[in-house]
């Protein structure tokens, strides 16, 4: 209401002003104004007549203030425009800086500095930069304000992330858990609160009194640590003496080191060595453990020597000497000496202790089971007695083959696989041996290729060596018993036959045969026989053929045999205490007989194998040939499309992954994808997971009550946010921030104390 009335007033006021403004002079008389105002007052409020003068004046002033224009006019009027100023200047006159300076120079009171300043000012013509625009100014202010606000807000960041990461948030936050508290917690969380308590604790702390139980106060401990004067003196003297002695010793050593005489050093070294040996022997008697350590050290030194190139006559000096050695006796001697030193240093020390050790080691080897040694012999390929397997294998193969043969006889149908088997049945023994030998040799060759750089006897030298060794062996064999010689003879015979076979199989192997690594005496035995046989042998066609066919056939046959194995696996016969008196009903029996007749023996197996092969073939990639004869080139009878074109228009499909039943001969697994389940499966990996394995393992545990205990279900299905019904959730206060900080700092402190206490243990 008041506002409205005011507005009305002002309107009237402006009207009045408008009427009054018609008068040409700008000047108002006080009286006139008063009149106007008085009239107005009469209009607005007639009850205020009896008010005192001062109040009226105030009101008038207030009303006067309402009109902006009026005020301006008043101010104009009050300005001393008409009057002269005290500096005899009017507002119209412009004051120049030079004028001022002129006056300054006249006045002695002005300092030289100010004068200088003024002069500089006068001289400089630069204009003052205009102030920043309002927008820019505001932007800067906003920026600053934002930074401040960001700082303020970022303090909360840690708490916010903590809450975001929390497994569960219970609002209102930071409630104290209800229920009774354990006494320990209560006591530990106790703090001095009342002034009396605080005073007591501060006193205790100030006097370094233990708050918890302790045997000694810190002050007492400090006093215990301190020692008396005499002890300190004695100690000081001791230290002085030690220092002096050390310096003497150092000086002596320096002097000795500077001596250039070789002889002196030699003698010195020898003496030292002797001393050392003596000491060591004593040590052996008194303290074997220390001696062992010493020995270890020596061993290490030896190793280092062996590793380094010192004394190897490979240095610059040694090389120069080597050149000189032909002519110079001294140089030769020096080199010799050098080598001797090396020999000395690298010589293995043989002491009683080390001998013991060796013996122990031997004992250990004795303790080891025999097969450890056997393993090496097993690799020895050409020695059948060591292999042991060769003797078993042929019989096995025989057995298998005979089985096959019988099976074949039984089955009316003949097929490729059977045929192959049949052809193979002839040379089973030889083949088995061959295969065995071949594989062994390959293995050996591999090894050889690894080590060939080191140990290879090639050319004449090798032969010579062989002969020599053979002679030796012959001598030995003469000395040996008859049984053993028989043994070797037998072995030789086998070796010969083997070699024949091997030679016949492939010529390429012959070349490699020459480079044979000799591992044992028996090997050496073998070598000379080999050399004569090599040129004689001409590969027989039959054998070669068999060798060529071998891999493919063995693969095929393997499958067949495995499949058969599955069905004819050796069965355990079960003894039944009660023999069945009633057999199955007659019709069933008849049926059984019928079926047995129908599926006698192999038929089932071959059917299955055929089906499997068919499936495999279906899955194999097919080549689509899209070449059109005569397209883009000449066509006609006897003309074939060009190779380039054929290559261009032949489409190969991708090779599918290996079948799941690859290694299961008696199983056909369908390769079709189960698309029924795909709508229920997760098709794309959800966000934080990097690979399917992670995701799969994260959902491996079911959540339901059917598979879990109640507690687990509750834990796993915990809601992320829990709000208490009826509780007021207030925004987080600043205290919380402090609390969080305190916690962090407390944790840090505790960690520090822990690390400090650890060394004390």
């Amino acid at each position: 209401m008041a506002k409205v009335s005011k507005i009305r007033k002002s309107k009237k006021r402006s009207k009045v002003a408008g009427s009054s403004s018609k008068k040409p002079p700008v000047v108002y008389d006080d009286e006139q104004e008063e009149d106007v105002c008085g009239a107005e007052e009469d209009v607005s409020s007639e009850e205020d007549d009896g008010e005192d003068e001062r109040k009226r004046q105030k009101l008038l002033e207030a009303i006067g203030a309402l009109g902006g224009k009026r005020k301006h006019a008043l101010a104009e009027r009050s300005e001393a425009a008409v009057h002269m100023s005290e500096f005899s200047m009017t507002a119209d006159d412009e004051a120049d800086l030079s004028d001022l300076i002129g006056t300054i120079e006249k006045t002695p009171a002005a300092t030289a500095q100010t004068k200088k300043h003024l002069k500089n000012l006068q001289r400089s013509k630069n204009t003052v930069e205009c102030p920043l625009s309002k927008q820019e100014n505001e932007r800067i202010q906003r920026d600053v304000a934002f930074q401040k606000a960001a700082l303020e807000v970022s303090r909360w960041q840690s708490i916010i992330t903590q809450n975001q990461r929390a497994e569960q948030l219970v609002f209102p936050l930071n409630q104290e858990p209800s229920g009774p508290k354990p006494i320990e917690q209560v006591v530990m969380g106790w703090e001095a609160r009342t002034p009396l308590e605080k005073e007591i604790f501060s006193l205790l702390a100030a006097n370094k009194q233990p708050i918890l139980d302790a045997v000694l106060t810190p002050a007492e401990e400090a006093s215990v640590k301190a020692m008396d004067l005499e002890q300190v003196k004695i100690r000081r003297a001791e230290r002085q003496k030690a220092r002096a002695l050390q310096s003497y010793y150092e000086a002596k050593a320096r002097r000795e080191r500077k001596i250039k005489s070789k002889k002196y050093h030699k003698v010195q070294n020898k003496a030292k060595r002797k001393e050392f040996v003596k000491q060591f022997e004593e040590l052996v008697k008194t303290d074997p453990a220390a001696a062992l350590e010493e020995l270890d050290k020596m061993e290490r030194a030896r190793m280092q020597e062996r590793m380094s190139l010192k004394h190897q006559n490979s240095g610059k000096w040694a090389k120069s000497k080597a050149i000189m050695a032909k002519y110079d006796e001294g140089a030769r001697k020096a080199m010799q000496q050098q080598l001797e030193v090396n020999k000395d240093l690298t010589q293995k020390l043989v002491t009683s202790l080390s001998k013991e050790e060796e013996e122990e080691g031997e004992g250990n080897t004795d303790m080891l089971p025999d097969f450890v040694n056997d393993a090496e012999f097993k690799q020895d390929s050409s020695n059948p007695w060591m292999r042991g397997r060769l003797s078993e294998d042929p019989t096995e193969m025989e057995l298998k083959d005979t089985m096959d043969v019988t099976a074949e006889g039984a089955s009316a149908v003949t097929k490729e696989a059977e045929e192959e088997e049949g052809s193979e049945a002839e040379g089973t023994e030889e083949d088995a041996l061959l295969r065995e030998f071949d594989s062994r040799r390959k293995q050996r060759q591999d090894q050889e290729s690894d080590t060939s750089a080191v140990i290879v006897n090639d050319g004449d030298d090798g032969v010579e060596e062989d002969q020599v060794t053979e002679d030796k062996v012959a001598e030995i064999s003469d000395e040996e018993e008859e049984g053993l010689s028989e043994f070797t003879r037998m072995y030789r015979g086998i070796g010969k036959s083997l070699e024949k076979d091997a030679g016949s199989k492939d010529g390429s192997a012959e070349l490699e045969e020459g480079l044979m690594r000799i591992r044992s005496v028996d090997d050496v035995d073998l070598l000379p026989q080999e050399t004569p046989t090599e040129p004689q042998q001409a590969p027989t066609p039959q054998h070669q053929k068999s060798a060529e066919q071998q891999p493919s056939r063995s693969r095929k046959r393997k499958k067949g045999i495995e499949l058969r194995e599955v069905l004819t696996k050796e069965t355990k016969v079960i003894k039944v205490p009660l023999a069945p008196t009633v057999t199955d009903s007659e019709e069933k029996l008849d049926q059984r007989v019928l079926i047995e007749e129908a599926f006698a023996g192999d038929d089932v197996i071959s059917d299955f194998a055929r089906e499997k092969r068919k499936r495999e073939d279906e899955g194999k990639p097919k080549v689509i040939d899209l070449t059109l004869p005569g397209w883009g080139e000449w066509g006609g009878l006897g003309l074939k499309p060009s190779k380039r074109k054929r290559r261009r228009f032949r489409i190969r499909t991708e090779v599918p992954p290996p079948r799941k039943d690859q290694h299961l001969p008696s199983v056909i697994i369908s390769e079709k994808r189960n698309s029924a389940i795909t709508p229920h499966q997760v098709s794309s990996l959800p966000f934080p997971f990097e690979n399917p394995a992670q995701f799969e393992s994260s959902i491996r545990t079911p959540l339901g009550r059917t598979w879990n205990t109640e507690r687990t279900v509750k834990k796993m299905t915990k809601p992320r946010v829990v709000t208490q019904l009826g509780a007021i959730i207030e925004p987080m206060a600043d205290e919380q921030l402090l609390k969080g900080k305190k916690k962090v700092s407390a944790r840090r402190r505790s960690r520090n104390t822990k690390t400090r206490t650890q060394p004390a243990k």
């Binding site: 599955v566 355990k572 599926f599 229920h680």
Partner: protein, 590 residues
């Protein structure tokens, strides 16, 4: 007096020994993390003791020193769990944690690992609540358990158990098929000559008895004990427990064998026309009908682990089927003659088959590999596996029971019993040590100690449930019904990420929709009048459109090429810039 004193002394001592400070709840959180590793391993007692000591020392030195109560827990941490029990409930191996900078992933993984760890431990702990042990038969010295007769066993055991051995002499209606309900309370008998009877076999209370006046080839309980399916001469029928015919399902003809998949509510039937059909008994719809093309299907069983149906064939193969695939998932050659019977154990690990070649074979069905093979002099016509892994095989009129056929080679049966006629149907009763044998002269209920699972799951199959509980269970089971699409060889497939390529998925979509939704429409030129739709003009228009399309393709390819080249250039420039950088050693270059 003295003795009394000593007695009291000892008593006190004992008390002290026995007394142990009870675990305080405030100790728990502190110790749990410390003893975590101990829990994990559950190793030998000695080691544990040492560890406990160490832990105690640690506690004393660090935190508990400050505690007011000086006593410390002599058995800190929670009780250890045996390793084998943990192994029993283990689901899959843990995965290695991702590197640190995958913070979110790491957090998710740690949380899930924690949860599954807790689940595992809790399950292992609560295994303690299965208190019942399976019994077994133990003979005297030099006495084979297989020579102990049923009468002897029935005499030796308590009356209620003894009453479980009984014979029903039903000579009229020929050999009987047998089926126990899922809880093991109800028994269903179906004679080949049409006799049908269901009853509570423990109380011998008859629920219904009818003659369907047709030959019956198989009978099967459905999900509850109020409904059962009967495969009759022509069609499949469903009756309720009062013997009232509910349905005659004409879609299912010449059914020879049936299997009910309880969690999928599927009735799988194998017919003489070599059809394998699935009937959803909750909706009454045929889910799948698969023509196996393998002749008469009279050998059938289910794998309770993954609800795969195993069929035995006359050519010695066993095939595995799911309703989602029209071809056999797996086909294995098991016998040289025809397969006579198949059985799969409860955990889905082993399959036992018997064939015309008089052999009994055990397969590891997960690896699809043969394990052992036995030769039975007369061959086994029927096989059945109990919940505890006992195998019963019927040879003629003799029923033999074997124990542990897969782990140890067996030479003698565990039990043997001669029934009156040749055996036609065999089934172990769930949760009971009873084997039901249907034969030519009726039915025999045999006692086989150690056959049934002693601990039943009250929420799954409760033999003692009331009518109300049964109703509740039915509702829950229907809610938790597993869809037939989820049947696959590996039931954990559902928890796997589908790794099919985009192309594969597209192909499947096309197959299911019948058309390609992303295919571009073929341009068909509009008909225009005034002779502008002459063959030449139409062809020209077609060509134009084709040209435009081709131009688009070309433009795109050119753009790609340019882009590639630019990239290459940029890369090279970068490389050049890198290589041009001068090194301190450049001054030595010539």
């Amino acid at each position: 007096m003295k003795s009394k004193a000593t007695f009291t002394d000892s008593h006190v001592e004992k008390k002290i020994k026995v007394k142990r400070p009870s675990v305080r709840y405030w100790n728990e959180p502190q110790k749990e993390d410390k003893s975590r590793d101990g829990e994990n391993t559950g190793e030998a007692a000695v080691q544990q003791d040492r560890r406990a000591k160490k832990r105690k020392q640690k506690d004393e030195t660090s935190a508990e020193k400050k505690l007011f109560s000086e006593k410390s827990d002599p058995f800190p941490g929670s009780a250890p769990i045996p390793k084998d029990r943990l192994q029993k409930f283990k689901r899959k191996d843990k995965i290695t944690k991702p590197p640190r900078h995958y913070r979110k992933l790491k957090q998710v993984i740690t949380r899930s690992e924690e949860a599954s760890d807790l689940a595992l431990k809790q399950a292992a702990r609560f295994d303690l609540l299965l208190p019942e042990d399976a019994g077994f038969l133990e003979g005297d010295e030099d006495e084979d358990t297989c020579t102990i007769s049923q009468e002897d066993i029935a005499e030796a055991v308590d009356i209620t158990s003894g009453a479980k051995y009984f014979n029903l002499k039903l000579t009229q209606f020929g050999p009987y098929r047998v089926d126990y309900s899922k809880t093991g309370r109800q028994l269903l008998l179906g004679g080949r000559r049409g006799h049908l009877a269901c009853f509570d076999w423990q109380t011998k209370q008859l629920m219904c008895e009818i003659n369907v006046m047709e030959s019956i080839s198989d009978v099967k309980w459905l999900h509850t004990d109020s409904m059962f399916a009967v495969a009759q001469k022509q069609w499949l029928y469903v009756y309720d427990s009062n013997g009232i015919e509910l349905h005659c399902i004409r879609k299912f003809n010449d059914v020879l064998r049936m299997q009910f998949l309880p969690y999928h509510f599927l009735l799988a039937t194998a017919s003489a026309t070599s059809f394998l059909q699935y009937l959803d008994v909750s909706t009454g719809k045929e889910v799948a009908a698969i023509c196996t093309k393998t002749g008469r299907l009279d050998v059938m069983c289910q794998n309770p682990h993954n609800a795969i149906i195993h069929l035995g064939h006359s050519n010695g193969t066993v095939t595995l089927w799911s309703p989602n695939q029209k071809e056999a998932l797996v086909k294995m050659l098991c016998h040289q003659g025809g397969v006579r019977s198949v059985a799969v154990d409860k955990m889905g690990n082993y399959m036992v088959t018997s064939g015309m070649d008089k052999k009994l074979k055990v397969f590891d069905i997960r690896a699809l590999k043969p394990l052992t093979s036995y030769f039975l002099p007369a061959g086994a016509s029927c096989l059945s596996l109990s919940q505890r892994g006992l195998l019963s095989a019927a040879t003629g009129d003799v029923v033999q029971v074997y124990r542990d056929v897969w782990s140890t080679p067996v030479t003698k049966p565990y039990m043997a019993h001669r029934v009156r006629g040749s055996v036609w149907g065999l089934q172990f009763c769930p949760f009971e040590d009873v084997l039901g044998v249907g034969h030519g002269e009726g039915f025999t209920s045999m006692l086989v100690p150690g056959a049934g699972e002693p601990n039943f799951d009250g929420l799954d199959a409760n033999p003692y449930r009331s009518a109300k509980q049964r109703q509740e269970w039915e509702v829950k089971a229907l809610l938790e019904k597993i869809q037939p699409e989820l049947i696959s060889l590996d039931p954990t497939d559902l928890g796997r990420v589908d790794r099919a390529t985009f192309e594969q998925r597209h192909q499947e979509k096309v197959q299911s929709l019948g058309f390609d939704p992303h295919a571009k429409e073929k341009f068909v030129p509009k008909f225009k009048k005034k002779g502008r739709s002459s063959a030449g003009a139409v062809e020209r228009r077609k060509k134009q459109v084709a040209h435009v399309d081709q131009r688009d393709v070309i433009r795109k390819s050119v753009e790609d090429k340019v882009k590639m080249e630019e990239q290459q250039k940029r890369k090279e420039a970068k490389k050049a810039a890198l290589s041009r950088r001068k090194s301190a050693l450049d001054r030595f270059k010539k």
